[in-house]
C-alpha cells in the first residue's frame, strides 16, 4: 500500500513537472506572439495615421474649392445659400401609379362572371 502511494506521488511529480515545462513554453510563445501583434498594431496605426493625414490633406477646403472651380462645367456646384432651403409644402405629393392593364383590376373584384353573371361574349361580336 505504501509502495503504491510512493509510486503515485512520484508519477504526480513527474506529471506536474511536464505540465509546468509545457506551460512555460506556451507562455513564451504567447509573449512572442504578443510582441509580433504589437508590432503589427503599431505599423497599422502608423498606416492609419498617415492615411488620416492624407485624407485631411486631400479634403482641405482650399483644394475642394479649386476642384469645384475646375469641374464647374460638369458639376455646377455653387455655395449653399438660404435660397436652397425648400418648404415641405412646395414638394408635390407623389402621384398614384396609374395601372393600364385591366386584368389586374378585374382580379381584385374576383371573376367577372361571378359579378355580372355569365355572359356569352360571342353575342356582341358580329
Amino acid at each position: 500500500m505504501k509502495g503504491l502511494l510512493y509510486l503515485l506521488t512520484a508519477l504526480g511529480v513527474i506529471g506536474l513537472a511536464a505540465w509546468a515545462y509545457r506551460e512555460n513554453h506556451l507562455t513564451q510563445q504567447a509573449m512572442n506572439e504578443r510582441r509580433a501583434l504589437e508590432r503589427e498594431i503599431a505599423e497599422l496605426q502608423l498606416a492609419i495615421s498617415i492615411q488620416r493625414t492624407e485624407w485631411a490633406y486631400l479634403n482641405r477646403p482650399d483644394r475642394l474649392r479649386d476642384l469645384v472651380e475646375v469641374n464647374f462645367e460638369r458639376l455646377r456646384l455653387v455655395p449653399v445659400t438660404g435660397a436652397h432651403f425648400g418648404e415641405i409644402g412646395v414638394i408635390a405629393y407623389p402621384m398614384p401609379e396609374i395601372r393600364t392593364e385591366p386584368g389586374e383590376t378585374i382580379e381584385t373584384f374576383g371573376q367577372i362572371e361571378q359579378l355580372f353573371g355569365t355572359r356569352d361574349v360571342t353575342e356582341d361580336t358580329p
Partner: protein, 593 residues
Amino acid sequence: MIRTPLRPLAPVLKARADGQNPDLIERENRRLRAEAARDQARTRAEGRLVVLALIFVCAFVVLGARMGLLATTEPVAVSRGLPEDISSARADIVDRNGRVLATNLATHALYAETRRMVDPEGAARELARIFPDIDAARMAARFTDPNRRFIWIRTRLSPEQQQQVHDIGEPGLMFGPREMRVYPNGRMAAHVLGGARFGQQGVRAAELIGVAGTELYFDEDLRDPARQDQPLELSLDLTVQAVVTEVLEGGKQMLNARGATAVLMDVHTGEVISLVSLPDFDPNHRPPPPTEGEPADSPLFNRAVQGYYELGSVMKTLAVAQALDEGVVTPDEKIDTRGPLSWGRFRIRDFRDYGPELSVTDVMVRSSNIGTARIMQRIGAEGQQDFLRKLGLLDSMPLEVAEAARARPLLPDRWSDLSVMTISYGHGMSTSPLALASAYATMVNGGRRVTPTLLKQHSIPGGEQVISARTSEQIRLMLHQVVQEGTASFARIPGYPLGGKTGSADKPNPRGGGYMKEAVLATFASVFPSHEPRYALIVTLDEPVDTTGPEPRRTAGWTAVPVSAEITRRVAPLLGLRPTRLRDATAAFAQGH
C-alpha cells in the same frame, strides 16, 4: 528541570510497609511522563500546522491579489516602439465635427556618423545635389573634421528625399524616426492653432513642442502620453472657417484694407465657431517673429485676440443697454442731440446733424455720439466701470490660446466725466474683436454673461445675469432696426434678418497726438437671426477704402457691413439655420412686446 524519579523512595518504602506492590507506583509515574511528552508533541505539531497554514494563506493572498490586479488594470495601449525618455507623442487637434486640424506624420531625420563614413567627400557632393541649400565643400569639411563624430543634417525628409539619400549608399548616413506636426488645412485657422517645433532631439525620437495658439496653451495636455488617443476637440467649424476666410480675404483685397479680422461666436455657449485674422500664415512653415516694423502688422499677430482697438460706435450698444437696464431711459424717450456738445475744450460732434432731439432707439439707429454721451452722463464713471467690468472688458479676455492672457485693454489713466462720454461711443478705451463678440453675445442671449471658449461645449454654461431678459429683448429690436432703417442697410440679406451696429473709428496717430482722418477702423458687430439670435459675428477691417463711388468711402456702412453680410449669407445655411421671412421676424418682435 527537575525530573520526577520513577521510583521515589518515600512512597516505595511506604508501599512496602503497607504490603502493596511498589511497581504500581513506577508504572503510574511512567504513565504520567508519557502523557506529558505526548501533550508537548501535540502543541508543537499544532504550532507547525498554524505556521504552514499562514504560509499558504499568504501565498494565496499574493496570488489572488496579483490576479485581481491583472484583471482590473486597463489594457495598455501599444506604443509605436519608441523609447520612453524622449516622447514625440502629441495628440491630434480636431474641429467640432471631428475634421483633423493638426496631426502627426511619421517621417525621418537625417544624421551622419562620421566614423562609419566610407567616402565623406562623395557623400557631401551627393547631398548637395539632393538638397540645393547644402554647400558641398562645407559639408565635406564637417564630415572629415576629426573632432566630430555625429552631425545632424536634416530634421525631416520627404519620402523622395529619403530614397535619394538611401541611393547614395553611404553607410555613415543614417535615418532617425521622427514625428512631425502637420496642419493639413494649411493657412486655415492658423492663428488658433499656432504651430509646433521640435524640442529635445534624440536619435530615435524628438519632442514636439507647441509654440503659439492652442498648441502652446494645451501643450502639456497634448503631450500627455495617457491621452494620446483623445484628440483635442475645438469649437471651430472647419467649413465655416474656410468660408469666413474666403469672404474676408476677398473683402480685404477689394477694399484695400491693411488687415481684417472676423469672430463668429455662439451667443449661448460662447463657443468660437470661426476666428480669422488676416494677414495670416501657414503654421506648417511658421514665419519667424518680426524683428522690425510694427508687430501688429506681422502675419503672426492675432488681430481678433491680441488686437485691442478703439472700436467706435459699436460700443454704443453697451451704453444704451446699461441705461435701459438701470431704468435711466426708456427706448422712446427723447434725448437732446443738439451739437456740438462741449466739455471743457473738448467738443463732441455727430457725423451729421440729427436735429434737436432723437429717441433712444434713434440714437442707436442713427448712431448719435452726442445722444449716447448724454445718456451715459446720467450713469457716471462708477456705474460705467462696474458694467464694463461685469462684461469682462476691463481685463484681458480669456481664450484658450497662449496669446490671449498677454494682451490687455488700454484704459484711461483717470476715468473722468469726459472719459465716460467718449467711452460711451467707443473712444478712449480699447477692446478686442473677441471681447466685443462676447459682449454682444451677452447683450442678445437674454443677458447672461458669455465667456468665449475654443473648446467644444456640450451644455450651456450658466453665466452671471448682466442685463435683464427684457433689456436684452429691447436691444435685439434696436439692433434689428439699425439694419432695417439705419446705418447698416447693406446687411439686409434675404432669408436671414440681421441685427447689428456699425462702428467707424478714426485710428489714433501712431506718432502721438490726436487721430488720423484718413485711417479708419471699420467694425460691424452683428447678431443673427435678429429675433432670436444664435450667433454673433464681429467683422473689423483695418483702413478699408471703398473706391467704387465718386469719392472714397471709409465708414463701416460701406466697408465692414457688406463683407459681414456676405459672410452671414454664406455661413448661416452652413450653420443649419433655416431662412426666415423678414415679416416673421418683425412679427416675433411685435409679439415679444
